[in-house]
Subunit: 356 residues, 2 copies
């Protein structure tokens, strides 16, 4: 089905950035997808147009009340030129779960996938092929009704933009240093921590800035109630390998249901590695470090894929993990997952969708 997506091709193609020196999220492709919503009319006018600024009334609700949702996923190009994407269906499912939480009208997931397919085909020359690079895809919804007053918007825009990217962290696959945050809180049960909405990220900036000033890449968030249980890291989920077992915080309602998180769990189980999804306290991690059973720690996310953690700072103490180097399992997971994504490792779990 074409879903009646119209296409206005760009007549003024942009110069592509050097694929060897890509920074994250600073270049955008020639086209974007856009679709309107009005109460009564529903979602309508799906279209691919040249990448361009959008004009909004200064009273647009997104500026004032933050009603917005986003997703992040990646596309790759195989050696034979085939375009493949990693589990895009999961992103559109989650988009609608986030929409529901933020009172945003649902989007037909099949239409979203078809829009993505057509946009990828028209801009496939933008997919970088260097190792460690990809085309990062950002679907998002913003509330556009021009009216002050706190209530769900009567108008929205759904858009997809795409950006050729390199590593999310300047460290690449090298271990990052993480600051365990005891003062600031990202989210709490009953809140919107499990929705991919802008406000969760705004709420994280101050702690992240202070962590940077102390020489750390990201913060590790503790739960908002007890300030004790581990939630997630900056823009990633987190895993620990303790005494041979992999442990990651259970989905509590206040952390993001990461698609990379889910994939890592499925991959480990496919390998016969035990994985526990449960509450894990910072005290348990520190104790495991003290008794020598904390073997590895890594973050997972679409942008960074796998990011090994080489050091944790908690309450003024520094805890080095795996001598600050990348652990064996982290490396194997990174190589396997990025290999599957680039089409050079067998996709035995059926994750990659070919775009044609």
């Amino acid at each position: 089905m074409s879903f009646g997506i119209s296409i206005e091709a760009s007549t003024n193609k942009k110069q592509k950035p050097d694929p060897k020196n890509l920074v994250f999220g600073h270049h955008f492709t020639d086209h974007m997808f856009i679709m309107d919503y009005d109460a009564g009319q529903g979602w309508h006018n799906p279209r691919i147009v040249p990448y361009q600024p959008i004009a909004l009334d200064p009273a647009a609700k997104v500026f004032h009340y933050g009603q917005t949702i986003f997703e992040g996923l990646k596309a790759f190009k195989k050696a034979d030129g085939t375009v493949i994407t990693f589990r895009p269906d999961k992103n559109f499912e989650r988009l609608n779960r986030s929409n529901e939480r933020l009172s945003v009208p649902a989007i037909d997931e099949k239409l979203g996938l078809e829009a993505l397919r057509q946009l990828l085909l028209i801009d496939q020359d933008w997919i970088p092929e260097e190792e460690g690079t990809s085309l990062y895809i950002r679907p998002f919804v913003i509330a556009t009704e021009a009216a002050l007053g706190v209530n769900p918007s009567q108008k929205y825009l759904f858009m997809i933009i795409m950006s050729p990217v390199g590593s999310y962290y300047k460290e690449g696959i090298n271990p990052v240093k993480i600051f365990v945050e005891s003062h600031y809180v990202r989210a709490v049960r009953g809140g919107v921590g499990d929705a991919k909405t802008a406000g969760n990220y705004a709420a994280s900036l101050k702690a992240q800035e202070e962590a940077h000033e102390r020489g750390y890449s990201q913060v590790l968030w503790l739960d908002g109630v007890h300030r004790k249980y581990i939630e997630e890291v900056g823009s990633m989920n987190i895993f620990f390998r303790i005494g041979g077992k992999v442990v990651t915080p259970a989905l509590s309602g206040s952390i993001l249901d990461g698609i990379t998180r889910r994939s890592i769990i499925e991959l480990l189980r496919h390998w016969g590695e035990p994985v526990e999804e449960r509450q894990i306290s910072i005290d348990e991690v520190i104790e495991a470090h003290r008794n020598g059973t904390l073997q590895e720690c890594f973050g997972t996310g679409t942008a960074a894929v796998i990011s090994p953690v080489g050091e944790l700072s908690f309450n003024g103490e520094k805890y080095t993990i795996q001598d600050g180097s990348t652990g064996e399992l982290s490396k194997k997971l990174y190589d396997t997952l990025t290999g599957i994504q680039r089409g050079i490792v067998e996709d035995s779990l059926g994750w990659m969708i070919e775009i044609k």
Copy 2:
């Protein structure tokens, strides 16, 4: 000082809405104030221009990471035509406290006040004079850097827009019904609940929608840790009058430091009425209702001023307050505060600033 604010007057004046039928936040004046920020250059190019859409890159950080701050205040016109505003200095102070929490660069408060003065003068014909109406003023900051990746923006816009408004609630000064929310949580200590940032409002929509479906105007939020202590109501702070004493939740870090809240406390103390700012649990309120000492309940906020609460719903039980009618103190506070704001009651606390 003029701060070098340039003015481009509108040549195409809009038709003003009927002041007798104003809804909240749907009409905007002929002009707006706008100022740019770039890292390195700082805030620059302050200007008043015709009210118009703004063009932003689809990757502008406000759409993705919600780095945005706002304020709300009101201007009035006295019978002699004098334009007056209610405590605007407090709003610009709070704007910068919110900016600090959200890693947004500070704005010169004197410049903000001067921009407001000039904007009010050029659009003073838009200030409605009917009882219960005012010109609602919305200063706000949005992050505009076109880059994906979670970190503070390198570019911002600061704007002021203005809207002639009637009552915030369709009930006007009549009592509203409030649903005490036990499932959803607005904010938690360590979070951004005390900053006036978009994400806090996005996080409130779902609970508000469900409360509306049950026939309630707003929700009363409980604290995120114990789910027991009263925080605030929708877009208002909340006060109770129990056994002759006025009680309002202390500023805990997760509730908004309301300027109307502060003014009500100052006014009550000026009258010699005792006011307690402290933790107050929903159980204490229910118990006071049971033993007949819960005399009044009212919300306070810039938009609604004073909004009496006629009914609370908690855990499936309904608690009617003051027989569902407006209490004596609520009425006196409303009449006094709106009287001061409209220039017909003596401004003995020196709150009103004349614009000339």
